[in-house]
């Protein structure tokens, strides 16, 4: 996918997450983008590795930095116990309005992922996206094995919570298949 469409998708994801009530800090965006790539196969092609709080893309961080430099994204500051979050600036909103048509085919995928993840906090996203990484990148499909592996790579995540995350991943993938299948049938 070219950089222009990739940028529009990133801005659209941030907008969709915020519209659905996500806190939308950097971690929320990183994990949601990973899910968009891995659950819906949206071809944004950011390179993700297991790093900060689960799957993390340095390319995506660079893209966010550049969108800030270009004036499309701004950082909002909040008092404790809230961290900074990202939102579209006026210029970013104008760009989104002008260019959204170019990525309309991904609207339903953006809707699905933001609907699933917007309400989740950092710790829950860390667990869920790590379980998704283990499942998709390492091919560990069994929930129990997945939970053990999540605990192995993120020792601060207890196995019982990792188990819940693995089960959530399973449900999310199944639901996406159902929704997608229905759309294709229609």
């Amino acid at each position: 996918m070219d950089q222009f469409r990739r940028r529009v998708i990133l801005l659209s994801l941030i907008k969709a997450l915020r519209d659905k009530g996500s806190w939308c800090g950097e971690t929320h965006i990183q994990k949601a983008m990973f899910a968009l790539q891995k659950v819906t196969d949206t071809p944004v092609d950011y390179d993700f590795i297991l790093y900060k709080h689960g799957p993390f893309s340095f390319d995506l961080r660079d893209e966010i930095t550049e969108l800030r430099a270009d004036g499309y994204l701004t950082i909002e500051i909040n008092p404790y116990p809230y961290g900074p979050n990202l939102s579209l600036s006026d210029m970013g909103n104008r760009f989104y309005q002008q260019c959204h048509e170019a990525i309309r085919e991904y609207d339903s995928d953006l809707e699905f992922i933001s609907g699933k993840l917007a309400a989740k906090g950092v710790a829950a996203l860390e667990r869920l996206s790590t379980a998704l990484y283990v499942c998709k990148e390492e091919g560990i499909l069994d929930s129990e094995q997945c939970a053990v592996r999540v605990n192995e790579v993120k020792p601060h995540v207890p196995v019982n919570l990792a188990r819940d995350a693995a089960s959530d991943v399973e449900q999310m993938l199944a639901e996406y298949s159902r929704v997608r299948g229905r759309e294709l049938t229609l």
Binding site: T27, T65, A69, G83
Partner: protein
């Protein structure tokens, strides 16, 4: 040279850190062929053609990074500085021998983090290495080479080359290796986004050699206050991860602000200086014609045999004599006939049309030919938007919620259109008369 507890220590004078100390075993790395090569690789490529003092090399920078990495290690692993909830995550710190192992591995990783740098450092790295290669990958290959393995094995305790490679390049450049929390923290000490010691040393050292004051900050205070912390909450008290990361005590926040301000000034005033940027472009074009196949080699022997020195000799001859491959570009550097800045991104034009610079470049190419125009759009990369700050009551807060300064520091990005110097005057007049129509194509003049 000093003998302490049976170990021989060496002291090296350094303008930034006064003395850099290393023992005999570490000295063996310093004396190795791959490391000595860094004496001949300019830290800032051809920047010395703009700022004459900027002739420092990767060699002394690497020594500085080693020195700072050791200092940070001692601070963040001190038992009084570790949060109780994180102690269990780092069993490495409970045994003195293991702690000593990792301290030495970190210092050696810091010393070797740039060992794979190409001639002229970053100037031509992206375009002139084969796909999939960068200087970090070359560093990794050299650290793992037989020549270096012999040195690691002879250390007490022997060091594992893979540990050194991991810490030297970090997770981004070694995605195939699994990093545990401990290794992640150690690699962050060197290459971390917020206050890695690589960044600390190059800001201090570059500003010192260039002769500008704004790269300086109180790194003593900053290092003294660095801590391993959990991240601050994001969307409320309960919304936080427990994954450890590097942060600072509240008393170090102003020093961290100063570092990030220094970075902003150095990028906007030095690293993205238009003449420095166009010299890099001319150098890349020269190298593309001069190197066999237009690419830098990636085998160790050929890599180690090539430094700035060999290339500068050829560049000078090619530029002065002419008629050889690359001579047009070499002449632009040697005779200082570099292209001149025709246009630079500015807030007024950008607000009207975010494509202004690209449109002007395209119009200029159409008018004067692509061979007479160059376009450059450097941007700061990898800016973490936040880091944790430990308050006196042991709460961990977001740096952004505490610092108005951090919230005001812009990300540096610019765009330049350069033109052949013989056409500069005419093109400037042309641009003055056509500019409005180019930027606002629908409005006419």
């Amino acid at each position: 040279m000093e003998v302490l507890l049976g170990k021989i220590f060496h002291e090296i004078r350094d303008p930034i850190h006064t003395f850099i100390k290393l023992d005999d075993q570490e000295r063996a790395v310093l004396d190795s062929r791959p490391f000595q090569r860094l004496r001949c690789v300019h830290q800032l490529a051809l920047t010395y053609l703009v700022y004459p003092g900027a002739s420092h090399k990767r060699f002394e920078h690497s020594l500085g990074v080693m020195e700072l990495a050791g200092r940070v290690f001692d601070i963040v692993t001190h038992s009084n500085h570790l949060l109780p909830e994180l102690r269990d995550l780092f069993p490495q710190l409970n045994k003195d021998e293991e702690k000593a192992y990792w301290r030495k591995a970190l210092r050696m990783a810091a010393l070797c983090h740039d060992i794979g740098h190409l001639p002229f450092s970053h100037a031509a790295e992206k375009e002139l290495l084969p796909d999939g290669w960068d200087h970090e990958r070359l560093s990794r290959v050299i650290i793992m080479s037989e020549e270096m393995q012999q040195i690691w094995k002879n250390m007490t305790p022997p060091l594992r080359a893979e540990d050194i490679a991991k810490l030297a390049v970090g997770k981004r450049k070694a995605p195939d290796l699994l990093f545990n929390d401990w290794e992640t923290i150690l690699s962050e000490i060197i290459v971390g986004d917020a206050f890695g010691v690589d960044r600390m040393d190059y800001l201090l050292r570059d500003s010192y050699h260039i002769g500008v004051a704004y790269g300086r900050f109180d790194h003593y205070r900053l290092i003294d206050t660095m801590r391993i912390l959990t991240p601050p909450p994001s969307g409320g008290e309960q919304d936080k991860s427990l994954e450890p990361t590097l942060g600072v005590e509240a008393g170090g926040l102003q020093s961290a602000e100063a570092l990030l301000l220094a970075r902003y000034f150095m990028y906007s005033q030095v690293y993205f200086h238009p003449v420095r940027r166009i010299y890099d472009m001319h150098l890349k074009e020269y190298l593309a014609e001069m190197l066999p196949g237009g690419r830098f080699p990636t085998t160790i022997e050929r890599h180690l045999s090539m430094t700035d020195h060999e290339i500068l000799v050829d560049l000078r001859k090619t530029g002065l004599v002419g008629g050889m491959p690359g001579s047009v570009h070499a002449e632009r550097i040697i005779k200082r006939h570099h292209f001149k800045r025709l246009y630079e991104r500015n807030p007024t034009d950008y607000e009207k049309n975010q494509q202004s610079a690209v449109l002007i470049k395209e119009a200029a190419e159409k008018k004067y030919g692509t061979e007479n125009i160059r376009f450059d759009n450097p941007s700061q990369k990898g800016e973490s938007i936040d880091f944790p700050v430990l308050m006196k009551d042991l709460r961990v807060e977001s740096s952004r919620s505490l610092s108005q300064v951090l919230n005001q520091i812009p990300v540096v990005k610019t765009e330049y259109v350069f033109i052949h110097r013989d056409l500069e005057r005419e093109a400037s007049q042309w641009l003055n008369s056509e500019r409005s129509g180019i930027i606002n194509p629908g409005e006419g003049r």
